[in-house]
Amino acid sequence: MVAMGTRGMIGESTKHTFSLKSFLIYLLMAFSSFFLPGCGSNSSEVNNTNVSKPTILVWHWMTDRQAPLAELAKRYEEKTGIKIKFELYAPSDAYSQKVRAAAQGNNLPDIFGILAEKRDFAAFIKAGHIADLTPNMNAENGKWKNYFFAKALAGNEFNEGNTYGVSAGIYGVPIDVTTIQMLYNKDLFRELGLDPQKPPATFDEFLAIGDKLKAKNMQGLVSGWGEMWMIDCLANNYAFNIMGKDKVLATLRGEVPYTDPDWVKVLSLFKKMQDSGVLANGLVTMINKTAEQLFANGKAVFAFNGSWCVNVYKGMNPNLNYGVMLPPRASDKYPMSIWGGAGTSFMVNDRSPRKEEAIKFLQWFTEKDQQVFFAEKTNNLPANKESIKNIPEILAQFSDDIEYATHPNTWGVSEFPPVIEALDKGIQSIIIGEKSPEQVSQDVQKIKERELAKKKAK
C-alpha cells in the first residue's frame, strides 16, 4: 500500500528497481505455489501418518452405486474407526484414463477398479500396481475365497503358465456378478400371440418371430451394438455354441482360421437375424443407453443386456414386465454360452502404505450382510454366494444361468484388439448388407495373420 501511495513521487530508476524486485518476489511465490506442493507427499498420506486411524481411498466409476457405497463406508467407519473415502470418476472412459495416468505417476489410490481387458489387468500387475491377494484369500482354509462364486473369482485369477506372464494368483476382489443374456417383454409377447412362459429356445424359433414382428410393425432385438463389445459378446456366445470352447480358444491362439466354416456359420447368424426382421432397425449405431430406453418403454420386444439392466429398467419403468432367456441356441452340438462372471472387481494398490487395512476393508465389504445390502440397493447380483438367496426374482433369473457363464478374462488367451475390431465392425457390415459373412471372415483372417506376423517378428 505504501509503495502504491508513493509511486508518483519516486524517480524512474527507483521505480524500475521496485518493479523488478516485486516481480521477482511474485515469480518466486508463483513457482513455489505451483511446484512445492508436488515435492511433498499427497494429502491423504500426510493425514494418515499423523493420525492413528487411516483413510482408505477408493476410486470407482459407478454413478448408480455411490450412495450405497457411501453408506457402507459410514458403517465401516462406525465399526472400526477407519474412514473409507469413495471417489467417483465418470464416465467410465474418463475413469479408465485417470487410472492409467495415475499408474504412470504411481499415484493410484489404495483401492481401485480396472475397466479393461485381461492383458491390461496383467500389465498393471506386472508394473507392480496390484497386490497379490492369494495369501489372504487362502488364509484360514480359504475362508475369504469361499465367499465367492468360482466364476466371479476366475476373472481376477491368473493360472499357472498363463500367456500374460503373470505369477499365478488372485489379484482382485469381485463385488458383484454379471451375466449378459437376452430379455423379452412379456406383454409384447402376448400381443404377438406368443406364450410369455415359453421364450424361443432355438435359433429357428427366434427367427420365426420376425414375421410376427413385421406384421405388427414392432421392433425386435435392441442392444448397444454401436458400442461394439456387445456384438463381440453375442458372436462369442454363438461361437461357443457352434464350435465349442476348445475351437474358439484355438482360433484365438491362431491355430484355427476365421475362414473356418464354423466361423462363417457364426457370422451367417447375424445375416439371418437381419433378413428375418428380428433385429431392430438402426441397431448398428445404437448405444446401450438408447437400447435400454427402447426396451424399458415397451418399444422393442427383445434386448441383449447384462444383469445390471435390472436396476436401469427399474428406474426407467418400474412396471416393465419382462423375462430373462438364454440366447436361442443355433446348434445342439455344444451348450449355449453367455458372458458372465465378476461384474465389478476392486484391486488393492501394492504400493499403498495402507495395503493391509484396504484388504481388511474388502474382506468386510464382501461378507454376507454387506453384500445383501449392496445387492438390494443396486439390484446387482452379489459376488458372495451366500447372499444370493435374498435377491429379487428377476435377478434370480439372471443368476440361474450362471452355470453357462464364461468370459474372455478367464480363457487365459486373448484376441488381438485389431482382430476384435475387425470382427465387430464386420458384423455391422453384414447387418447393413454391405458384406457377406464369407467376406468378413476373410477380412478378419487377414488382420489376424498380420497381427500374428507382427507378434512373431517381435
Binding site: 438402426g282 441397431l283 449405431t285 457390415s429
Partner: protein
C-alpha cells in the same frame, strides 16, 4: 549505458519468462514426449517401452487402410464445411451487417450452436434423427413425406452426410462471427463512393466486399479445416464412428488405438502424421489464398 541496456534486456526476458515456461510445460514438452513415444511400442501401463524405430509410422502409412478411410471421411466433412457451412455463415453475416430489424437477436441466435456442449448436441440430434421414433421422421410422416424418412445415422448411404450437416450446424456460428467482424471493418465510404459512381449491389459485393474479405475468408477457411478434420466428440456421441467404418474420423482412430487397443506409441505416430497433414493443408491453402488476394 551498456549496463542499463543489458539490464533492460534482461528485464524484458524476465517478463516473458513465465509465459515461455508455461508454453514449454504445456506445449513443447508434451510434443517432445509424443514424438518420443511414437518410436516405442508401449501399452500405457507397463514401465517398459520397446523401441521400434519408425515401425509405427510405417504401419500408419502403409498398413492401416482404415486410417486412410477415416482421413477421407474427415476430408469429405471438411469439404462440406468449407463450402456449405462457410457460405451459410458468410451470407448470414452479410445479412446481419445490414440495417435489418432484430439484427442483434439474430447475432445471438446464430452463435448459440457453437457454445453448446458437443456431447449434448450429438445426443439431442441422435434423438431427433432416430430412425424409429425420431422427431424428423415423425414430422416427415405427418406432412405426407413418409417416403423420405430414413435411418439417418445407421444407414451407410446417409450417415456421413448427416454427420457432416450436424457438424456444419454446430460450427457455422464461429465463421458467422468472424465474417461479421470482417464485414464491419470495411470502410463504409468505399460503398458510398461506389454508389456515387453508379455501382449496383452486386458490383459492390464483387469488387469491394469480396476482395477486402479475402484475408478473413482465408482465416475462416483454415480454422474450418483444422476444426473439422479434428471432429471427434460430436461423431462419438452420434454414431461412434459407425455403421461399420462409415463415419470414422482420424481422432476416433487415434482414440481407438490409445484407449481400445492400448497402443500408445502407435496412437502418437498417428497423431504426428495427422498433425503434419493438417499443417501442410493449411500452409497450401494459405499460400494459394495469398496469391489469389494479390
Amino acid at each position: 549505458m551498456n549496463y542499463l541496456k543489458l539490464k533492460s534486456t534482461f528485464e524484458n526476458y524476465l517478463f516473458i519468462l513465465p509465459a515461455v515456461v508455461i508454453f514449454a510445460i504445456f506445449y513443447i514438452i508434451p510434443f517432445i514426449w509424443v514424438f518420443q513415444l511414437s518410436v516405442f511400442e508401449w501399452d500405457g501401463i507397463s514401465p517398459l517401452k520397446t523401441a521400434i524405430g519408425l515401425a509405427n509410422f510405417k504401419e500408419v502409412i502403409t498398413g492401416d487402410p482404415i486410417w486412410w478411410q477415416s482421413m477421407l471421411n474427415a476430408g469429405y466433412i471438411t469439404i462440406i464445411a468449407l463450402t456449405f457451412q462457410n457460405a451459410v455463415a458468410f451470407f448470414l453475416a452479410l445479412a446481419c451487417d445490414r440495417e435489418i430489424r432484430f439484427k442483434n437477436w439474430f447475432r445471438v441466435i446464430f452463435f448459440i450452436p457453437p457454445v453448446l456442449s458437443e456431447v449434448v448436441v450429438g445426443l439431442v440430434w441422435q434423438w431427433i434423427l432416430d430412425g424409429n421414433f425420431g422427431l424428423l421422421n415423425g414430422w416427415l410422416t405427418k406432412i405426407g413425406l413418409a417416403h423420405l424418412a430414413k435411418y439417418w445415422l445407421s444407414d451407410p448411404a446417409t450417415a456421413l452426410n448427416t454427420v457432416a450437416i450436424i457438424h456444419c450446424w454446430k460450427g457455422f456460428g464461429w465463421g458467422f462471427l468472424i465474417f461479421l467482424a470482417g464485414l464491419q471493418g470495411i470502410p463504409r465510404e468505399l460503398y458510398e463512393a461506389a454508389r456515387v459512381d453508379g455501382a449496383n449491389a452486386f458490383y459492390c459485393f464483387k469488387n469491394i466486399t469480396i476482395p477486402l474479405m479475402i484475408p478473413v475468408i482465408v482465416l475462416v477457411g483454415i480454422l474450418t479445416i483444422l476444426g473439422t478434420m479434428q471432429a471427434f466428440v460430436l461423431i462419438m456421441a452420434m454414431t461412434g464412428g459407425g455403421p461399420a467404418y462409415h463415419t470414422q474420423v482420424p481422432v476416433l482412430r487415434i482414440y481407438a488405438s490409445m484407449q481400445g487397443a492400448s497402443r500408445f506409441g502407435y496412437a502418437c505416430a498417428q497423431s504426428l502424421i495427422f498433425g503434419v497433414i493438417l499443417i501442410t493443408i493449411s500452409f497450401i491453402q494459405y499460400r494459394f489464398s495469398g496469391k489469389q488476394s494479390r
